[in-house]
Symmetry: C2
Subunit: 737 residues, 2 copies
Amino acid sequence: MGSDFLFWIAPFGAVIALSFAYVFYKSTLKLDEGDDLMKEIAQAVRTGAMTYLKQQYKAIGIFFICAFIFIGFLSFVLKVQSLWTPFAFLTGGIFSGLAGFIGMNMATQASSRTTQAAKKSLDGALRVAFRSGAVMGLTVVGLGLLDISIWFLILKQVYHSNFHIITTTMLSFGMGASSQALFARVGGGIFTKAADVGADLVGKVEANIPEDDPRNPAVIADNVGDNVGDVAGMGADLYESYCGAVLSTAALGAAGAASASLSPKATLNMVMLPMILAGVGILASVAGIYAVKTKEGANQKELMGALNKGINLSSILMAIFSLFVIKILLNNSGIGYFGIWGAMVVGLMSGIMIGKITEYYTSFAFKPTKFIAEQSKTGPATVILAGLGESMISTGFIVLTVSVGIVFSFLFASGFDVKNISMGLYGIAVAAVGMLSTLGITLATDAYGPIADNAGGNAQMSGQNEEVRERTDSLDALGNTTAATGKGFAIGSAALTALALLAAFIEEVKIALETMADKAGGILSYGGELLTKARIENMDIVQILSLFDAHLLNFRVLVGIFIGAMMPFLFSGFVIKAVGRAAGKMVEEVRRQFREIKGIMEGTAKPDYAECVNISTKAAQIEMIVPSMIAILTPIFIGLVLGVAGVLGLLAGALGSGFTLAIMMANAGGAWDNAKKYVESGELGGKGSQSHKATVIGDTVGDPLKDTAGPALNILVKLMSMVSIVTAGLIVAYSIF
Amino acid sequence: MGSDFLFWIAPFGAVIALSFAYVFYKSTLKLDEGDDLMKEIAQAVRTGAMTYLKQQYKAIGIFFICAFIFIGFLSFVLKVQSLWTPFAFLTGGIFSGLAGFIGMNMATQASSRTTQAAKKSLDGALRVAFRSGAVMGLTVVGLGLLDISIWFLILKQVYHSNFHIITTTMLSFGMGASSQALFARVGGGIFTKAADVGADLVGKVEANIPEDDPRNPAVIADNVGDNVGDVAGMGADLYESYCGAVLSTAALGAAGAASASLSPKATLNMVMLPMILAGVGILASVAGIYAVKTKEGANQKELMGALNKGINLSSILMAIFSLFVIKILLNNSGIGYFGIWGAMVVGLMSGIMIGKITEYYTSFAFKPTKFIAEQSKTGPATVILAGLGESMISTGFIVLTVSVGIVFSFLFASGFDVKNISMGLYGIAVAAVGMLSTLGITLATDAYGPIADNAGGNAQMSGQNEEVRERTDSLDALGNTTAATGKGFAIGSAALTALALLAAFIEEVKIALETMADKAGGILSYGGELLTKARIENMDIVQILSLFDAHLLNFRVLVGIFIGAMMPFLFSGFVIKAVGRAAGKMVEEVRRQFREIKGIMEGTAKPDYAECVNISTKAAQIEMIVPSMIAILTPIFIGLVLGVAGVLGLLAGALGSGFTLAIMMANAGGAWDNAKKYVESGELGGKGSQSHKATVIGDTVGDPLKDTAGPALNILVKLMSMVSIVTAGLIVAYSIF
C-alpha cells in the first residue's frame, strides 16, 4: 500500500491529543482548590454553567431532531441525499457539543485552582491556567480528527474508491458541527453579554460597587457567562472550523484528482492529506504546549513571549514535518508536492500575520487604541466614532492579507496555471488547514483567557490579598490579547474554508445531477439541455457553473449577492437587539434584588445568584432562535426560488460582507476594551475620571459586537454553505428557475 | 423618421426644468430679505459657503487636470479609449459642479427670506423654502439632461448608428460627474460635520449655550456646512445618480438591441428611451411642484401630506405618460413595450416603498426610533447598541425591496425569459431611470431641508420672536424626514444603476477587445485563444464573461469580491476618522476664541466666525484626498493585477456590502437624530435630562455616518464602476493575468 500507513498519523494524532488532554485534566484536578470560600464560589459558577449547558443541549436537541427528520426526508423519501447524511449530521453535532462540554468542565474546575496557585507564584498560575486551556485545545482537535478518521474508515469500507461520494457525505457532518456551533456561540454570547452588561450597568454605574463584587446579584451569572460563551461557545466554534477545513479540503482533493484524471492511489492520498496534516499539527502543538513556561515577576511582554514561544515552536515543527509528509504522499502522483506544501505554509503564515495585525489594532501598546482612548477627552461620542473608524480601517489590512494568501496558495498549488481551478482551490483549502493545523496550541492560549478571567473573579470575590490579585490581573490582561489573536485565526480560516465550501457545493450539485440522471434512466433534461449521466460525470467545475449560468451578470447571482451581503447585517442586528433585551431583563432583576432583599449592600444577606443565572439562561434560549433560523432557512429559500446561481451569489455575498463585518466587530470591541484598560492603568485621569466613564461606554458598546455578533458571523457564513451543500439535491431538483 | 421627434422631449424637458428653475430663482430673489441683522447673518453664511466652494473647486480642478491628462494618455497615446472620452469626462465634472453651485447659491439666498416669510405665515414660509429647493431639483435634472442631449446629438453626428460607441463614450462623462460628486460629498460632509460636532461639543456641552447661538464662534461654519454638505454635496451626488442611470440604460439599450439583432431604428429608440423618460419625468415633476401648498397652522403630518401630494401626483403622471411614450418608441420593434413599462413602474414603486421603510425606521412616530429613545434610560451605550441593531435589521427590508425590484424588472423586460440577459439588464436599468425620473420634485423636498434648517438658524441668531421660530422649527423637523426619504432614493437608485454599470463595463471590455484586434491586424491572441474581430463583434455578454472566466469560483473573482466588500468599510473608516480629526481642530479653535477674545460670552465682542469657516475648509480639502484616491485607484490596481474577472468581483463585492452599509449608516444616523428630537419633544424627561444627554451622544455618533460616510458610499460604488469602464481598455491590454 506504500504511503497508506501515513493515514494512521491522523487517528494516532487524535488519540495523542485526547490522551494529553486527559493527563492535563487529571493533573489539574489533583491540585489544591483553595479555601472554602474559593471552593464555594467555583462550585456556584460550575453549577450555573452546567445548568445552562444542560438547558442549551435540550433546546438544541429539539432542533437536531427536527433537522434529522428533515435531512432523513431528503435522503430516504426524496432520495436527493446520501443515506449516511442524517447520521453524519448527528455525530458532527454531538461531538462538537462534547468538545464544548469537556472544555467548559475543565475551565470551571481550573479557575479556583489557578487562584490558589497564584498565591505561590505567577509561573505556577500561568501553568495551571494554560494547561487547563490546553485541555480544551487538545479535546477539540482530538475529537474532531477522531470523528473524521472513523467516518473515513467506515465510508471507505462501503464506497471503496468512490472518494467523491465519501468526501461529500462527510461534509454533512460539518453541518451538524456548524449548527451546534451557531447555537453555542449565539446562545452563549447572549448569556454572557446579558449578564455582563446587566451586572455593569446596575453594579458599577448605579450602585457604585467594583467589578466582581459578591454583593452584585449578577456576578455569578457574569462568571458563568465567561465559561458558556468564551469557552464552550468558542470550543464548538473552532471544532467546526477545524472539521470544516479538513473535510472541505478532502472533498476538493477528490474533485481535483478526478479532474486531473489521477490514479485511485493518488486520489486517496490527496483526500488523506488534510487529515494527515491535522495529525502532524497535533503532535507539533503538544510539543509547543510543553515549551510554555515563564519566570516569577514576568511582565506582560514576557508572558506574551512565553506563549508566543510555544506557538512559534509548533509552527516551525509543523512547517518542517509537513514537507516530508506531503512529499511522501504526493510522490509520483503528478502533483507538485512543493506547491501544495507552499500553500500550507502560506496558510500558516497568513494566520500569524493576521494575529499581528489584530494585536496592533487592539492592544493599547499601539497607536490606534491609544488614539481611541485619547478621544475620551471629548466624551463618549468621539470614543465610539474613533473605534468605528479604526476598526473599519483595520479590515483593510486583514482582508488584504487573506487575499494575498488566497492568490498565492492558488498559484502555488496550481503550478501558476490560472486555468487549473481544481488544484488551485485545493491549494486554498490546504492553506486553511495549514492555518488551523496548530489549533491545539492556539486554542489553548485562547481558552486560557476566560480561565484567568474567572481566576481573577474568584480572587476578588473570595477577598484574596493584593499580590494574588495582581498576579491574576496580569494573567487576565494577557488573555485579552490572546483572545483577539484567537479571533483573528477563527476569522481568517473561516474565510478560506468558506471559499472551499463554495467549491464543495458545486461538487454536491454535480452529484445531485448524476443522481437525477440515474433516476431518469440515464438521460436528464435540465435547463433546456439533454444531459447523459456520462456527460455529467465528465463535466468539470467550470462546465457545471456554466450549466447554471453562474456568471456575474446573471440577475439571480446578483440578487443572491445583495441578499447575501445583507445577511450578516440582519443577523447581527437581531443578535445585538437580543443582547439588549436580555440585558434589560437582567437590569430589572438586579434592581429588584437590591430593593427587595434587605442587607445585600451591607453584606449581611446573600443575593439570589441563581435567579440571575436563570434569567440569562432563559433569555439566551429564546433569543437564539430567530437569528439561527434565518441563517438556516435563507439558503434553502433562495435555493428554491433562485436556484444554484442564486445560492452561489448568496454565499459569495455573505462571505464578502460577513468576513469584513466580523473583523470590524472583533477589532472595535477589542480596542474599546483595551482603551478602557489603558485609562484604568492610570492614563488620561485614570479610574473614575470623565475619560474613564467615556471608555466604559465604548467597552459596553463593544461587548456584544466582539463576543456575540462578531464571532457568530464566521459560523453564519459557513453554516449557510453547509446547509446549501446538504440541500443541494433539493435545490437542483425543485428550484423554480 | 417616425418616432424620432420624441427625442426632443429630452432637451425640451431640460430647457423647461432650467426655465422654471430660473423663474423660481428670480421670484425668490424679489422677496424681502428681512431686517439688517438677518441680512448680515445670511451674508456671512453666503460668503463662507462661496469661499468654501471656490476653494473646493480649485482643489478638484487640480484633480481634474491630472485625470484629464491620464485619460488623454489612455486615449491619444495608448489608444485604449475613444478620443472623445477626456472631453466628456470634463463636461460631466463641470456641469455637476455647476448644479451644486447654483443650488447652493439659491439656498443661501433663500434662508433669510424663508425666515422673513415665516413672520407672516407657515404656508408662505413653506412655499419659499420648497420653491427654492425646487431650484436645486430642477437645475440638477435640467443640466443633467441637457448635457446628455447635447453629447448625444454631437456623437450621433460623428458615429451615426454606431450606438455601441456613442453610448459607452457618453458613460465617461458619468465618471466626471462621479468624481465631482465624491469630492463634493466627502469634502462637504467633512466640513459640515467638523463644524457641527465642534460647535456642539464646546458650545452646548462646555459653555452651555443653545444651538445656533451667535456667541458660538463655530455657528456660522455650522450653517455654512449645511449648505456645502447637504445642498451642494447632495446636488452633485444626485446629478451623478441621474446621469449615471440614464447613460447606463442607454448603453445597455445599444447592447440589448445588438444582441437581439434589432434594426438601427429600433436600436436608436432603445437608446433614446431613458432620455425621453427623463424628459417626461421633468414635466411630471414641474406639475407636482405646483401642487405643493399648505394652510396656516398645519401640523407635521399635514406638512408631510402637502409634500407627498406633489410627489404622488408626479409619480402618477409619470406612470401614465411613460406608457404612451414607451408604446410609441417600441412599436413594431419586436420588444414588448408593456414589459419595459412594467420595469419602469417597478422602479418607481420600489423608490416609494424604500421611502416608506426608511420613514418607519427613522421617524419617532414608529416603534424602532421610540425603542432607541427608551434605551436612553440605561445610558448612552444602550442607545448606541439599539441604534446599531435597528439599523442593521432595517437593511433587510430595503435590500429585499430592491432585490424583488431587480427580479421583476428583469423578468418583465426579458419577457420572463431568464436567458434573455441583455433585455433583462436593460429592464433593471430602466427601473433605475423610473426611480429617478421624478427627481425634480423628490430632490426639491430634500434640498428644502437644509434651507429650512438655515432659516431656523437665522431666526435664532437674529432673535426672532417665539412664533416665527416655532414655524421655522416645524419646517425644519419635516426636513429631517424628507432627508431620510431622499437618502433612500439615492441608495436604491444607486444599487440599480451600479448593476447596469457592471454590464456596461463588459460592453466596454468588448470594445477594447475589438480595438485590440483591429490594431493586431484583425486577429487577436488573447488568453490562449485566437479571436478574429468578427468573432468578437458577435460575442454576447455571456461569451465575453466566459472568455475572462468571470464565474464565481475563479480565485480572481473571489479575491475581487473580498477586497470589494472591504472597500466601503475602509473608505468609511478613513472618512469617519477625518471628521474626528477635523472636529478636534474646530474644538481647539472655539476654545481658543472663548479664552482669548474677551467679551464673547457677554455679547460685547464678536467671535471670529471666518477663522472657523477657514479651519473647516482647510480640513475638508486635506482630508478628502486619501479616501477619494483609494476609491479611484483601487479598480485600476485590481484591474492590472487580477484582470477583468478581478474587477467584476471587486465591483460586485463593493456593491453588495456598500449598499447595505450605506442603508445602515443612513438609518442609524436618522434614527438617533430623531430619538434625540423625541426626547426634546418632552418625552423621557425632556431637554436637559439624563435621557437627553444619552440621545445627544447617539446623535453625535450618527452625524458623520448619515451625512458624510453613508451618502458617499453610493458614489464610491458607482465611481469605482465608472473608473473601471473608462480604464477597461487599459485593463484588457495590460493586466498581468
